[in-house]
Amino acid sequence: MDERLLLVEDDPSIREIAKLGLTNAGFNVTTASDGREGLLHFHQTPFDLVVLDVMLPVLDGYEVCRQIRAESRVPVIMLSAKSDTVDVVVGLELGADDYVTKPFEMPELVARARAAIRRATAGDEEPVLVRGDLEIDPGAFIARKGGEEIGLTATEFKLLLELARRPGQVFTRDLLLQRVWNYEYLGDSRLVDVAVQRLRSKVEDDPKEPKLIKTVRGVGYRFDTG
């Protein structure tokens, strides 16, 4: 494994130990200590994963995430201060794939980082799925709607693929966390909810009246073809 990872964190101690832990785990880690420096690195070299603190000097983590998302589908993990406030949801809505709450243990961060990269790597040689006007190509990691490519992040693509593979089946949030995020118990159902919202805004004709990805109240989600 030699995935390139960009770590943006302002506290020197946390930066150093996280870099050490991630390097030990086999990542090729580049660090930055504020948002602007992070974006500079991001524009210079391609990365396989970005780990981004929310509270950063100069440019905060949300802004960095937004700018990265505007031009790339690279997986982003946010390092968030608290788990039960809006911070998490805001980060996810801006396109982060996952979040890790401070304080964290290195094995957890490493596990999340690996899972995020695994999501972003192309699946096996599966045939192209066609659902209504949607075309999902697992090999090329590309989805098209009415012939036009839709810009999905790796996580959104995996989520769409998982749901579209079995139309009509109800997926609980826990099941989606396991299948898409590769988490057993670790995950937070908000990951699923926010990712579904973002996915709907890209694939549905009217995201407020979804025809493809239906909510099954109190249970989870189901893919229909209208």
């Binding site: 506290d11 946390i14 050490l20 832990g21 788990s83 039960d84």
Partner: protein, 446 residues
């Protein structure tokens, strides 16, 4: 005010009634005097017209003469014959006792109502004639006037009573206004409007009293402001401290977790201290996280995100994910409520973790629903909590076994209780020394 109206009304009524009676008496006796005087003159006049035994011509002449004088009617009786100046009046209508008195030769009078008209009837014998004459003076006007006077007095009385009441009310209000104001002020003070003050308007007792009330309110306001400022400072301090601690703690936790992975490669003599370090960092982490959570709860920043939750499967998952399955049994019905799953998970993990800490094993969790709503019971067979300590188990930093040796922060149950209340539920504890402890979480079913 009512008393004032009563006094005013009563005195006005007495005044009115007595003046009416005096006027009535005066008018009635005046009427009698005039009637008697006129009757004497009429009798003398009759004596000049009538003979001893008058003829019809004589009596007719008399009636003509009387008619010219006007104002009265007359009925007469001479020997066996009667005559009258009016078609509606006859000797039969003369009261008997009056006839009696006249027969005895007296000039007498009596009041009699005939055909709806009040008359003063005066009777007498004509001098030197065998004739009795009865004069009917109408007192209709007099009685009308008296009735009018009575009505006027009644109207005036009513007006006096109303006016008295009005004046009384105004006076009473003016006198009692400070009292009413004080009552309102005391109420609003009690409701927490600490800047309530009374106007000091007069130099009298009320003024002095208002001034002392204001002094008291001022002292109260100052005291309470100071107290709540102190409390807010304390809470802000807790919140600031835990926030400031988080950055170094994050570094510590990450460092310790790396250290833990490599404990076996650390030289023998440094291994134990490294192990202790790793454990203590975990303890510190728990403490700071609990502190942050409780300061969020105190600050009212805690958010509730409700969704339909099957409590039974949430409990089972919480137990399984912490690898407690071997020491914790879960007996569950399917109970679906609308609640915040993260907070519920936190409460359950707290209660079960607490039970395991005290009992070590054999913790039983039961999930069900009864008439009061949904419940989660966490029962252990640990040493139990003595009755004097039981009421304090939800206090912050209170540990039932005073040795303070347990791994918990001392905030776990306090946080569980706050979260339970945030979800609209409650948390109760039952315990018996030697038998065990049971915590019951109750949640509303919506």
């Amino acid at each position: 005010m009512l008393a004032f109206m009563l006094v005013a009304g009563l005195s006005a009524a007495i005044l009115a009634a007595s003046s009416y009676l005096i006027v009535r008496e005066a008018r009635l006796s005046d009427s009698v005097d005039r009637a008697l005087e006129q009757s004497r003159f009429n009798l003398v006049l009759a004596g000049e017209v009538l003979d001893d035994h008058p003829t019809t011509a004589q009596t007719n002449e008399l009636l003509d003469a009387y008619e010219r004088r006007g104002t009265f009617a007359v009925v007469g009786r001479t020997d066996a014959r009667t005559f009258s100046s009016s078609l509606s009046l006859a000797p039969a209508q003369v009261p008997e006792d009056l006839k009696q008195l006249v027969a005895e030769g007296q000039l007498a009078y009596e009041r009699e109502e005939i055909g709806g008209v009040p008359y003063l009837v005066v009777g007498g014998r004509v001098p030197s004639s065998n004739t009795e004459l009865y004069y009917f003076y109408s007192e209709e006007r007099l009685w009308d006037e008296l009735a009018q006077l009575r009505n006027i007095l009644l109207y005036v009385l009513g007006a006096v009573i109303l006016l008295g009441g009005l004046i009384g009310a105004l006076l009473a209000r003016r006198m009692l206004r400070p009292v009413a104001q004080a009552s309102v002020a005391a109420h609003s003070l009690a409701e927490g409007l600490l800047d309530t003050r009374l106007p000091v308007e007069s130099e009298d007792e009320f003024g002095a009293w208002a001034a002392s009330f204001n002094e008291m309110a001022e002292a109260l306001e100052a005291k309470i402001t100071a107290l709540s400022e102190a409390q807010a400072r304390e809470r802000r301090f807790t919140s600031d401290v835990s926030h400031e601690l988080r950055t170094p703690l994050t570094a510590l936790v990450a460092e310790a977790s790396l250290l833990a992975e490599h404990l076996d490669r650390i030289p023998e003599e440094a291994r134990r201290p490294a192990e202790l370090l790793v454990n203590d960092v975990a303890r510190l982490r728990d403490l700071v996280e609990d502190l942050m959570e409780i300061s969020r709860l105190d600050a009212g920043e805690a958010r509730v995100r409700e969704e339909p939750v099957d409590i039974g499967s949430l409990v089972a998952t919480a137990v399984r994910s912490r690898r407690w399955d071997d020491r914790v049994s879960v007996d569950r019905d399917e109970v679906v409520v609308s609640t915040d799953p993260r907070r519920l998970e936190r409460i359950v993990a707290n209660l079960v973790g607490n039970a395991l800490e005290h009992a070590g094993r054999d913790v039983a969790v039961r999930v069900g629903q009864d008439g009061l709503g949904a419940f989660v019971e966490v029962t252990d067979t640990g040493p139990g909590i003595p009755p004097d300590r039981l009421p304090h188990v939800f206090d912050r930093f209170y540990k039932a076994d005073s040795s303070r040796a347990g791994p918990g922060s001392g905030l776990g149950l306090a946080i569980a209780l706050e979260n339970a209340r945030l979800l609209g539920g409650d948390l109760a504890v039952w315990s018996e020394v030697g038998r065990g402890t049971r915590f019951t979480l109750r949640l509303p079913v919506t």
